[in-house]
Symmetry: C2
Subunit: 374 residues, 2 copies
C-alpha cells in the first residue's frame, strides 16, 4: 500500500506522537484547568507548556486550541466580522475559509473579492492590492494550496495589510511544518493550523494563533473553568475561546508533533523537496499528463490530470489496481477549480510526507504511465 | 492517589478504549470521508459504524460528532435560535447550556425563565410547566446536575414539551452511562453527550443526537467532503454539521466506550450506586457536614460542604494532605449555586466511576472526619 494522501492527513505518526497521546489517556488523563487537585494541575501545566510551544513555533502572542483548522478559521472569520464591509480572499482558499467568508458575507452584507495569481506559481501582494477598497477590513490568504501546493507571498501581503490597516488572516493548514511561520515577521494577525497534517499530530485538535492587538469575539459559549457564577461568557483570558473540555490527549500529541518537526525540519523538507521534484518532473514527461503544480514548487503537493480522464476515476484505478492512495475530485476547494478550469474534471493529487520513499514515487510514476496509455 | 473527580472526566479508561484510540492512530489513521481510496473508505466506514452505535445507544435518528458536549449544546441552542421568543432552562444547567442560552438571549431579545425544583431531589414537569408561555419555543433541561447529581424527570418533561409543541433539549453530560437514554421514549428532540465522562471515552469528542423533524442550522462552516464546488455550506446530509477533519481516534475510542458501558451497564451502576449510598450516608453522619445530594440519589455525584469552610480550601487540603482528588468551587454552574445559596462557599464534589473502590470511599470518609475537626 502506497499512501500519497498526506495533505488530507499524514497517515504515519512518529512514535513520539503516539506515546504522547497514550500519556494523555493514562498519565495526564484528568481534566486540565477544571479542578485544583494535583492531577488536574499536572494536566493544566502540560497543556499550558504545549500552548507556549505552539506560540513559539509560530511566534504568536496567543494560541487557542480548537476542534480542527476549520474551527480555527471560523473563529478568526466569524469572531472579527464587520457588516457592510469588504473582504479579500484568494482563489487558493479551501472551503474551510471560503464557506465561513461567503456565509458571513450573505448574512452581514459583506462584499467578497477573490484574488487570483497574475503570474503562475505564486500569489503576490500585487494580486491582493488591486482589490483593496476603503472598506476592506480583512484579507484571508491560503498559504499553500491543498490542490497544487501553490504558495502565497505572505511576507509582502502582510506588509501590504499592515500599511493599509487591514486584518491579515493566514490559513496555514498545508504549509505548517513545510515553511517556517513567523507571525511577527510576516505581520500575520491570525494564523490557523491543521496539526494532523504537516505537524504529524493526531486528528482532533486545531490552532488559532493571534496577536495581542486583535479583538476576536468567541463563537461558542460554555464552561471555561473561570467566572463560574457568570452566565455570560468571560471577556478576558484565553479560556473564553475554549469552552468545554479540551482534547488533552490530542494536545499532547500536538506537542510531540511540534518537537518532531522542530528536530527534523531540514531533513523532512529536503526529503519532500527531493521526492516532489522527482514526481513533478517525471509526471510532466508522461504523454497526456498535465501537472498543475509549478515546477519550482516542491512542498509535496502534486496536482495533475491524465488526458480528460475524470480525476476520481484515476484515483479509483490507483486504489483498486495499484494499491496507491491519492485523492481525486475537488478537494473542498471550488474557488481553485474555478480558477484552474477543472470544476468538472477535478484534479488528481499526490501528497507526500516525510515517511514516503523514493521507491514509492517510482512505482507511482510507473502506474501513471500505464494508466495514461488506457 | 484517590481520584474522585470523575464528573470532570473519568480518569481511568478501559483498555479497550485505549486500544481503539491506538487503532485510530495506526490502522485507521487516514481521513474519513475525504478521499475515495481504500484507507479513507475504511476509516469512513468505521466512523459511520460508530455513528450508528451512538444513534442506537440513545435511540436517535441522527448523531453529529462535535468537539465536546459544550459544542453539541451550542449547536442545539444557536442552531435553533428564534428571536423575540422565550426559553425555559433549569437551575441545574451547567454553563455549557446556560452561557449559550443567555448570550443568545441578549443578542436575539429572548426571555429566559430558570425553573427550580419545587420538591427536593428531582426537577419535575410541574416545575417546567408553570413557566410555559405562548412564545416558549425551547425547554433545555440538565438531566443530572454536575454539582449534586440532582436529576430531572425527563420522561414527563418530554411529554409536556410534546403536548405544547416545544423543542426539548437535554444535556446528558452527567447522566449518559448512568441512566438509560431513549430519545424517542422520552420525546427528546436534541440530546448532548460528554463521552469522556460516563462513557469512558477519550476527551476530544462530543455528540449531539437529534430527531428527523428538527431543523438545526450549522454554526460552523467549511469543508465537508461534499459539494466541493459550493462556497456555501451544504443544506443536506449530516456532514453539514461536521466541517473539517473529524477526530477519528477519539471517535473510535467513543465506540469502544459505548461497547464497554453496554457490556457492563448493570455492573457499573450497581457499584456506583453502592459506593454513592455509602458515601452519602457516612458523610451526612459527620458533625458539621452538609450533603446536598439527595439521600436517594446514587449516581455517583456527591456534593457537600464542611461547616463554613471554603470548598476550594477543603479540596486543596484533600489534595495536599490526603492525596485525594475532588473538585471544589462553582463547577461552572452558577445557576445551581444561586439556587443552593452556595455562590460564595461553592461545593466540594466527590464523583465516582466504575474504577473506584470501597476502600477509597472509606479512606475518603476518614479524611473528611479529620478535616471536619479542624
Amino acid at each position: 500500500m502506497i499512501y500519497f494522501d498526506n495533505s488530507a492527513t499524514t497517515l504515519v505518526k512518529p512514535k513520539e506522537v503516539i506515546s504522547a497521546v497514550m500519556e494523555g489517556l493514562t498519565k495526564y488523563s484528568a481534566n486540565p484547568g477544571r479542578s485544583g487537585h494535583k492531577l488536574s494541575m499536572l494536566c493544566a501545566s502540560k497543556v499550558e507548556n504545549i500552548r507556549n510551544k505552539v506560540k513559539k513555533f509560530i511566534n504568536s502572542d496567543n494560541a487557542v486550541f480548537t476542534e480542527n483548522c476549520t474551527d480555527a478559521l471560523n473563529l478568526a472569520i466569524i469572531g472579527t466580522i464587520k457588516s457592510n464591509c469588504h473582504i479579500i480572499c484568494t482563489s487558493n482558499e479551501h472551503n474551510a475559509s471560503a464557506r465561513p467568508i461567503f456565509e458571513m458575507a450573505k448574512k452581514y452584507n459583506i462584499e467578497v473579492s477573490v484574488a487570483t495569481p497574475s503570474k503562475a506559481g505564486i500569489l503576490r501582494a500585487e494580486d491582493i492590492s488591486k482589490h483593496i477598497k476603503n472598506n476592506t477590513y480583512l484579507v484571508c490568504v491560503n498559504h499553500m494550496s491543498n490542490v497544487d501546493g501553490e504558495i502565497a507571498d505572505i511576507e509582502n501581503i502582510g506588509n501590504l495589510c499592515k500599511q493599509n490597516g487591514i486584518l491579515f488572516l493566514v490559513d496555514g493548514a498545508q504549509s505548517a511544518g513545510h515553511i517556517k511561520l513567523d507571525m511577527k515577521k510576516f505581520n500575520i494577525d491570525m494564523l490557523a493550523l491543521a496539526p494532523h497534517k504537516g505537524l504529524y499530530a493526531p486528528q482532533g485538535v486545531g490552532v488559532l494563533g493571534f496577536n495581542n492587538d486583535i479583538e476576536i469575539k468567541p463563537i461558542r459559549f460554555g464552561g471555561t473553568g473561570t467566572e463560574g457564577e457568570n452566565v455570560y461568557q468571560p471577556t478576558t483570558s484565553i479560556e473564553r475561546f475554549e469552552s468545554g473540555t479540551l482534547p488533552t490527549p490530542n494536545i499532547l500529541g500536538l506537542g510531540a508533533g511540534i518537537d518532531f518537526v522542530n528536530a527534523h525540519f531540514d531533513e523532512i523538507n529536503s526529503k519532500i523537496d527531493d521526492l516532489s521534484t522527482y514526481l513533478n518532473y517525471e509526471l510532466s514527461q508522461i504523454n497526456g499528463v498535465k501537472v498543475y503544480t509549478h515546477p519550482n514548487n516542491s512542498f509535496g503537493v502534486i496536482g495533475f490530470n491524465i488526458k480528460d480522464f475524470g480525476s476520481t476515476e484515476v484515483s479509483q484505478i490507483l486504489s483498486d489496481k495499484y494499491n496507491i492512495c491519492v485523492r481525486g475530485g475537488l478537494h473542498c476547494a471550488g474557488l481553485k477549480h474555478r480558477y484552474l478550469g477543472t470544476l468538472e474534471q477535478g484534479v488528481v493529487r499526490a501528497s507526500l510526507s516525510y515517511f514516503n520513499t523514493f521507491t514509492e514515487c517510482e512505482k507511482f510514476v510507473r502506474a501513471i504511465k500505464q494508466i495514461s496509455k488506457l
